[in-house]
Chain length 393, copies 2
C-alpha cells in the first residue's frame, strides 16, 4: 500500500491545514496596522489558551528560547535555584541555570518516574530564588504534579517556573490560582503549527523580580517584549508566517469550542486524554509496558520496547511500513522506549490507525500478536469515553 | 483599481512562491534522516551563498539572535569592543555589547552617512577584542566599506563581525579573503522567505576565541550548534517549515545561476544593483534627495521626504492607493525618509511599477510632477544595464 508521511511525534506534531495555508499566504510587514492587529489578537488568544490574566510574551525561537528567558531574566549569578528533574528536559533546566551562573540543586527521580511534592518539600529552602520544573516531561511522558508543588511554594519567595511545552493543551492548569509565575509553551505542540515560536505567561511577582535580576539578556528580554507587546509589536522581526498560522489555529480551537477559545482548548485536552487512554489500553492488551506507568500524561505515551528489541527498530518499522514517524527515546532512553504523541491535531482515526500499525510492527519483531486485540481494547475505551461525553447520543 | 498587497520593505521582502508552498507542505520531524539530509543541504548552500569555507550556523530566531550570538560567544564582561555606527542597527551593536558587559567605544557618523576606514583607523586600538559593524545599514540604505575596514584589522587580534543581514545577496563579499570573522544574515531578506531564521559564518580565529569567552550563552551557543550541525542537526527544534522554504529558495537561485548557486547569488546581486540604480535615477528625475547619497547600497533606497511632508503620509499613500508597503524611517528618522527595497525577489516590473506609483504619490502631496518622467529615467537605466549585461541581445 502507499505510505503517507504522518508525524506521531510529541513535537513537531500534525499540522492544521488551515494554519498551513495561512502560513503560506502570509505576506505582511510587521510594522503595519494589519500585523499589529493580528499580533495583538494572538497575544490575547494566548492568554486565553494558557488560562491566565498575566501578560503573555511571544518569541521567535524554539521552546528552549523561552526557557532561557525564564533563567536569564529571573536570576543573578550565584543565585540558588531548585530544579525538578526526571528526564531530558529537567536536565535542560539544570544546564541552563548553570550556564547563567546559578547554584543548582536538583530533586531527581529516575526517567519515567515523577517527582512528588514530598520529595520537593525535603529539598526546598527559603534561599531558593526559583524552582524550575516540567509539567509534562516530553522525554518520558510522565506528568509532574504542578498543583502539588505550587502549593508548597505559597507564601515563600521562591518563584515557580513551569515548562509546559507539552503540558499546555494536554493538561488542565489554574495558572493564576495555583501561583505559577512563569509557564512556557511552544508552537509545534498542541497548537498544531510548525516549530519556531515560543511563548510564556509571566506573573506580577516575576515581573518584579526582573528589576533586580543581573544576568545579561537582550533577544530574550522579557520586559522589553512586554512593553512592545502592549503596542501589538515584537522587539525584533517576528516570524510573521508562524504568527499567522497561530492565529488560524486559535480560530480553529474557538470553533471547536462553539465560539469560546477556552472551551476549545478544553476540547483539545479531553481529546488528548481520550487518545492517551485508548493507547494505554492497547499497550496493556498487547502485554507491553508503559514506561511512565506511575503518572502517564496525555501529551504522549512512552512504551518500553520488548526485551531484546531495540526501540529504534520499532521506529524504523513504523516509518518504513506505514510512513508513520513515532519517536525513539531521547538521551539515555534511546533504544529503550518509543513514544506516540496525542497532543494537538490527532483524532480517533489517527489514534486507532497507529494502534493497528503497532500490532503489525510488533508482530514483525517475532512477538506473538493477536491482530485486532489492541484495536479492540482502544475502541472499547473510545466507546466508553463517548458515552460519558457531554452531548453523546 | 484593485490593490494587491505587496511588500517593498527591506525585510520582510517579497516571498518566493515555490518557497511559500514548500513551507506549507513541510511536515517533518527534525530528528529523521529526511530532515538531516535537508538541513545538511541548507547549511552547505548557506556556505556557498555567503561565499566562505567556514562553517555556517543557523538559528531559529530573527537576525538579532545571531547578532547576540556574535557578542555572547566572543566576549567576556569588561572586554573592550569597537562599534561602527551610523544608524539604528549600529546602535543595536552598542546596546548588545553593553548588555553583555563590554566596554564599548563607537566610531560614529550621522544617519545616512557611512563610516570611513580612516575614521576607524583613528579609534582602533590593539585592546579592542572585536569590531562590530554593518555591511549595509538597513535604517538608512548606506553601505559601509567592509573591505577597507577589514584591511585595517589584518595582523591585529581584533575580530571583525559584520551584520550583513541586508548586505548578503546585495553586495559582493570576499569573506575569507578579507578576513571577516563572523558574517550574519537573516531569512526575510535577499533569500526571499519569511522571517524566523538567522545564520552566521564563523572563522577559525573566532572559534578559537570562543574557548576563552566567558559571557553566558545557551540557546545561541555557537559551538554546540556547530557540533550538531556537522551531524545535520540543530541543538533545539528548528523552524522546520522555514528550513524547507530556504531549501526551495536556494534551488531557485541555483536555477537562476544555470545550476550554480554562487552564480545565482551573483544574479541576485546584479538584480538588486540594477533595481537600485533605476530607483536612484527616478529619484533624481523627480528632484528628490537620496538620503544616503554618499554611499547608497543596493539593498534599499532611502529617499528624503520633500520639505514639509511627513514621510509617514507618503508611506500611507502608497498603501492606501496602491497596496504597496514601503518603509518609513526608523528611530529618529521616522517621518523624515521613506525606504524602497530591492533585495531579493524584485524584478523589472516590480521596480518600474513602484516608481510609477511614486510619481502619483508625490503628485498627491501637491508637488508638481511630470507623469512618466521618473519611469522614463528608470527605463533608460534598465536599457543601458541590459545592453551591457552578459548574454544581452
Amino acid at each position: 500500500m502507499i505510505r503517507k508521511g504522518r508525524l506521531f511525534t510529541p513535537g513537531p506534531t500534525q499540522l492544521l491545514p488551515s494554519a498551513q495555508l495561512a502560513m503560506a499566504a502570509a505576506s505582511m510587514h510587521h510594522r503595519t496596522a494589519e500585523f499589529r492587529a493580528l499580533y495583538s489578537k494572538v497575544l490575547a488568544d494566548l492568554k486565553t489558551f494558557v488560562g491566565t490574566s498575566s501578560d503573555v510574551i511571544l518569541f521567535t525561537a524554539s521552546g528552549t528560547g523561552a526557557m532561557e528567558a525564564a533563567v536569564s531574566n529571573l536570576t543573578s549569578p550565584g543565585d540558588q535555584v531548585l530544579v525538578v528533574s526526571a528526564g531530558k528536559f529537567g536536565e535542560r533546566w539544570e544546564s541552563l541555570a548553570k550556564a547563567y551562573g546559578c547554584q543548582v540543586e536538583t530533586v531527581r527521580s529516575d526517567y519515567g518516574q515523577t517527582v512528588t511534592p514530598q520529595q520537593v518539600r525535603e529539598k526546598l529552602k527559603p534561599s531558593h530564588a526559583v524552582l524550575y520544573m516540567q509539567a509534562s516531561e516530553s522525554s518520558t511522558g510522565a506528568r509532574h504534579d504542578v498543583q502539588g508543588i505550587a502549593a508548597l511554594l505559597k507564601g515563600t519567595s521562591t518563584l515557580l517556573v513551569v515548562d509546559a511545552i507539552t503540558g499546555l493543551g494536554t493538561t488542565r492548569f489554574d495558572v493564576d490560582g495555583w501561583g505559577v509565575d512563569v509557564i512556557i509553551g511552544g508552537s509545534q505542540k498542541a497548537v498544531m503549527i510548525p516549530p519556531g515560536l515560543a511563548y510564556c505567561a509571566v506573573s506580577e511577582r516575576a515581573w518584579q523580580r526582573m528589576e533586580a535580576a543581573k544576568n545579561p539578556r537582550y533577544y530574550f528580554d522579557l520586559r522589553k517584549e512586554r512593553k512592545n507587546g502592549a503596542k501589538g509589536e515584537s522587539s525584533y522581526t517576528p516570524s510573521t508566517a508562524l504568527v499567522a498560522a497561530l492565529a488560524a489555529a486559535f480560530d480553529y480551537l474557538r470553533e471547536q469550542g462553539g465560539g469560546d477559545l477556552a472551551a476549545g482548548r478544553d476540547v483539545l485536552i479531553d481529546n488528548a486524554e481520550t487518545a492517551a487512554a485508548m493507547t494505554r489500553a492497547a499497550v496493556e492488551a498487547l502485554g507491553l509496558k508503559l514506561f511512565s506507568a506511575a503518572a502517564p500524561g496525555a501529551a504522549l505515551t512512552a512504551i518500553t520496547s520488548p526485551a531484546g528489541i531495540d526501540s529504534g527498530d520499532i521506529v524504523k518499522a513504523f516509518r518504513n511500513r506505514f510512513g508513520a514517524v513515532v519517536a525513539n527515546g531521547q538521551g539515555e532512553m534511546k533504544g529503550q522506549i518509543f513514544r506516540i504523541a496525542h497532543l494537538g491535531y490527532y483524532d480517533y482515526l489517527d489514534t486507532i490507525a497507529i494502534i493497528g500499525a503497532l500490532e503489525h510492527v510488533l508482530a514483525g519483531t517475532g512477538r506473538k500478536v493477536e491482530l485486532g486485540s489492541a484495536v479492540t481494547a482502544a475502541q472499547k475505551v473510545y466507546a466508553q469515553a463517548s458515552k460519558s461525553a457531554p452531548g453523546a447520543k
